[in-house]
Symmetry: C2
Subunit: 276 residues, 2 copies
Amino acid sequence: MERTVEPGSGPILVLGCGLVGASAAAGWTAAGHEVWGHDRRDLAPLVERGWLARRVPIEALAEAAVVVLALPVGGILAALRRLPFRAGQLVTDTGSVKGAVMAAAAALPPGVRFVGGHPMAGEARGGYEAARPDLFRGAAWAVVARSGAGEHGGAESEAVAALARELGATPVPCAAGEHDRVVALTSHLPQLLATAVAAELEGRDEPLAAALIGRGGRAFLRLAGSGYEVWRDILEHNRAEVERALEAVRGRAAQASDALEEDFAAARRLAERLAK
Amino acid sequence: MERTVEPGSGPILVLGCGLVGASAAAGWTAAGHEVWGHDRRDLAPLVERGWLARRVPIEALAEAAVVVLALPVGGILAALRRLPFRAGQLVTDTGSVKGAVMAAAAALPPGVRFVGGHPMAGEARGGYEAARPDLFRGAAWAVVARSGAGEHGGAESEAVAALARELGATPVPCAAGEHDRVVALTSHLPQLLATAVAAELEGRDEPLAAALIGRGGRAFLRLAGSGYEVWRDILEHNRAEVERALEAVRGRAAQASDALEEDFAAARRLAERLAK
């Protein structure tokens, strides 16, 4: 496998060892990297499992070759504003919104090599208890180069793409705006709608609600267990696209039968492409 | 297993041998019943597979002990209005809407024993090609007694419940209005929203849409392949409840963060109950 971050060139520091951070740490450790973790939580279980070489204080930041911000979006933005990254360091993130992150990264000191990232591999339950080394296998990993980094995103984009491939993910190069438009529909609005349908069911207190959910309804509601802590930030920082998507979807759902027939046909075309 | 429709008491006639009808026919045949099928389509493949004893013309209706209307809702309503059911016959259906069906059944001749039914076990793809004898295993099967049929729905409700159990389903006795309110949220609105999100994605022509869908989004969009033929009828005959559900869900999805935090908590409570 082509590597652009050679094991031995310096440690990877994962800031935030929840579901995504701990899973990535496990995979990179297995690929031969030295992986450090930093988190408010006790990381001893991850060190014992061999997923992290060690837990480090934030003062170890300067010693890392690569820094991965695997935090909720608000935490990523705060880290980009406050942490003393050094020139030459490769910094990336795993946040579900890219416009706000790239805007914050634009203010980094010259020489800090930042690339936005977003693995499409969440689970309803966060925390490292749910982590697993194969979380990203077969998943897309959006890779967003800074504007001005060249047509193909430059060497740092390739380095982040290679780190994604080491976890079994498929790097998908894209622009921040394009990413945020698409995931508003493929992830953020589905989350909001699954939450809203489940909350409406709970609020109505229909005794038979749980009994009368079939396989299709259960699939639709799979996201309903997600935690607000993570989604508050995502919905706040992609608010315009999510609201636009919500109004478009409401309009389609409320329309009369002729247009609805066309939408069923269009939806089936997408379903058939997804099934391939 | 307790039986109230004894094999040998007379054949079960399945009207409409698509996904649901053919799957039920296969299961009832395996349970020892003589099962006849009627459909516009050639049913020879189902007879060859041993899922049906034979294909019969509609004139065989009077000879059946049990008639199962496994048609789209519009077809069920037309059958209830037009077919010459005989006194003593047990008639049931598998339609996804119960209010309109029970209203049509109220006009049946005296002595025809009608019970509404709805197995919660659809798949995106219809047709007997997708049918399987275990389609209903573990699924709920709503059983709706006619008003005036007694507190527990009477002997005919128990007969339909027993037929559901023979397929591995769990009968769920309920009233028509209760059923239609609940499935508007657990099935009909999820279908409409999955279709609308997928159609919006197709309509925007975002090249990366299919690449940037994670597991959660794929689950949400599982219903997007469903066919309009079946859903047109469902959405038409449960329109008021589906519109009410759509407006409630839109209001929740558009609300500010404090209320949204409560909705995430309520949604998680439902998700936890469903996971049990």
